[in-house]
């Protein structure tokens, strides 16, 4: 297998890496850089546990080859410092087994970066690519509502 040189910015840090040509972005993050907050739940884009932000948009890192990320900016859960979203998840009981949580937080972040006043429909749409088997989603939705409300300047709902 040939190695390919890529320049990629991950969580604000520049990396110059040599990667196998068939390596997926998720394998690069986990196996090479040990950024294990990015989870693999299905390996085919159904569950969203591997969600990362790539050039400003959420993507499934299991469906991106590492070489495609050349010259891209990647943000993983380790690069998210949004305590408002994270605390809302904790306080609303939106975290159970936690395996979907990083992906959910990134999906929520991506939504709230664009829309600080989402309605319930928009929230559910924004997390529709992320599966959770524990919570039944309601608490995740209320966590995102709460985070939006705090970000708008209110205390909470």
């Amino acid at each position: 297998m040939n190695l390919k040189k890529i320049d990629v910015n991950i969580n604000g840090k520049d990396y110059c890496l040599e990667v196998e040509e068939n390596l997926r972005l998720i394998d690069l993050l986990r196996d090479k850089l040990h950024l294990t907050g990015t989870k693999e739940g299905c390996g085919e884009g159904e569950c969203g546990a591997c969600t990362v932000i790539m050039d400003g948009e959420i993507v499934n890192s299991c469906l991106v080859l590492a070489f495609q990320a050349d010259k891209c900016r990647i943000i993983t859960i380790e690069g998210i410092e949004d305590e408002i979203i994270k605390n809302s998840f904790i306080e609303e009981g939106a975290v159970q087994c936690g395996f979907c949580t990083p992906g959910m937080v990134l999906a929520a972040k991506s939504l709230l970066d664009k829309n600080l006043n989402p309605n319930e429909e928009e929230i559910r749409e924004a997390i529709s690519g992320n599966l959770c088997r524990c919570t039944g989603y309601n608490k995740i939705v209320s966590a995102i509502k709460k985070a939006a409300s705090i970000k708008r300047g209110g205390d909470s709902e």
């Binding site: 299905c42 009981g93 975290v95 949580t101």
Partner: protein
């Protein structure tokens, strides 16, 4: 009364912070020095005699060893109630997905590649997939015994006579399918030897203490030579009660004296763990004109698949809950757990109490319709209250707010 500190309060989960930060450690997140990687070879046939040849795979550069039943130092079996699982299939596979071999290699890529070179010869034999077929004497036997391995009975009152007194009788058959837990974190684990020579197995499990026993038995060592650590568990719902990665990893780590890791893909996860029991439920329920339930006769057949797992407990629970939360004076219930060559079934949320409502609640609705009662009226007439006696003779005491709960539904 003193103010309660925890009851009635919203408590933050102790590990929630690590989980939102992405720093909580699941087994797949563990990377150790000199760690080898294992992949499992599984049966692709539901019922067959097998011959395994690992020679070609072991010649591949980077393959350290291919483990089969011959490499199990202790007992080649496990199981939560009956020890009917094999660690590695020795002579015969009983379902698609039975583990046959465990390839340990320097890297995951090599181990995956080597899969193509483990030769499994299958001599297929007749299989049985329908539990009712499996109950017949002439059907293929999944194990060296009758396929029906559990029969639970409830007898109360005189069902035959009571049916004669009923004004209306409803008889139906209900079927519910298998369900997978589909917990979000696929099975994974790491095993290594600690400085005292003990085998340490890190795996997401619901039963570290059971696992310790089963691992020790398969390794042929004392329990105190085995440590099982449970890191973050990415959902379970009953699906992590049976052994999956644990013994394979322990044998490999003990034999090779180095850390070994394995991670299942989503597909393999579906093959590896139990399912919710599919059930076929024959129901005959009778009532008087005014809606009073008088008699129930039920036969519940649970498909246990290739292994027993928790089938006895699940089918017992299904029978105990067969009347639903309704008082019925005359009850005859028979529940069966049956081996087939299907995926094996075990614990899943509700444990047998989840399947029967499909039958008993529909029976009640159909009775109500025939009697010109509303679904609420017939339920209020029969529902459990304080002091009610269940079909197994339990007197319900304490707080039984079912009546209030049904009353509340009137407004919908």
């Amino acid at each position: 009364m003193n103010e309660l500190k925890i009851v009635g309060k919203s408590i933050k989960k102790i590990d929630a912070k690590d989980k939102v930060d992405g720093t909580a450690v699941y087994p797949q997140d563990i990377y150790l020095e000199n760690m080898a990687f294992g992949v499992t070879i599984r049966s692709t046939r539901p019922h067959a005699y097998i011959k395994v040849d690992t020679k070609e795979a072991e010649k591949i550069d980077g393959v350290i060893k291919v483990f089969t039943y011959k490499d199990v130092p202790g007992k080649n079996h496990h199981g939560v109630v009956l020890k009917d699982h094999e660690v590695f299939a020795s002579k015969k596979v009983r379902r698609i997905g039975d583990p046959i071999a465990f390839i340990v290699a320097e890297t995951k890529e090599i181990a995956e590649y080597a899969k193509n070179f483990v030769k499994v010869e299958y001599e297929e034999i007749p299989a049985v997939f329908d539990p009712e077929e499996a109950m017949k004497e002439e059907s293929p036997k999944v194990h060296d015994r009758d396929n029906v391995f559990y029969h639970f009975k409830i007898r109360r009152g005189d069902v035959e006579r009571a049916f004669l007194e009923c004004d209306v009788i409803v008889e139906n058959v209900y079927k519910v399918p298998m369900v997978d837990h589909a917990f979000l974190q696929p099975e994974a684990g790491v095993a290594y030897l600690d400085e005292d020579g003990r085998v340490v197995v890190i795996a997401s499990t619901q039963y570290p203490h059971f696992d310790q026993e089963e691992i020790a038995e398969s390794l042929g060592v004392n329990k105190d030579m085995v440590r099982v650590l449970t890191p973050a568990v990415g959902g379970a719902f009953g699906g992590r009660e049976d052994i999956t990665v644990q013994i394979h990893l322990a044998i490999a780590a003990l034999t090779l004296k180095r850390p070994v890791k394995t991670i299942y893909s989503r597909e393999e996860s579906f093959l590896a763990h139990s399912k919710r029991h599919a059930m076929k439920m024959y129901y005959k329920t009778g009532a008087l004109k005014d809606g009073t339930l008088l008699a129930l006769e039920a036969k519940i057949i649970g498909d246990s698949g290739a292994y027993a797992s928790w089938a006895m407990n699940v089918l017992r629970k299904a029978a105990v809950h067969a009347t639903g939360p309704y008082y019925i004076p005359n009850v005859k219930v028979d529940s069966f757990a049956v081996y087939t060559n299907n995926p094996f079934t075990g614990a899943m949320r509700g444990f047998g109490a989840t399947q029967v409502p499909i039958a008993y609640e529909q029976q009640i609705d159909i009775l109500a319709e025939k009697l010109g009662l509303t679904p609420i009226e017939i339920r209020l007439k029969n529902c459990f209250r304080e002091g009610s006696e269940t079909s197994t003779g339990q007197i319900l005491e304490g707080f039984i707010p079912l009546e209030r709960c049904i009353e509340e539904l009137k407004s919908f």
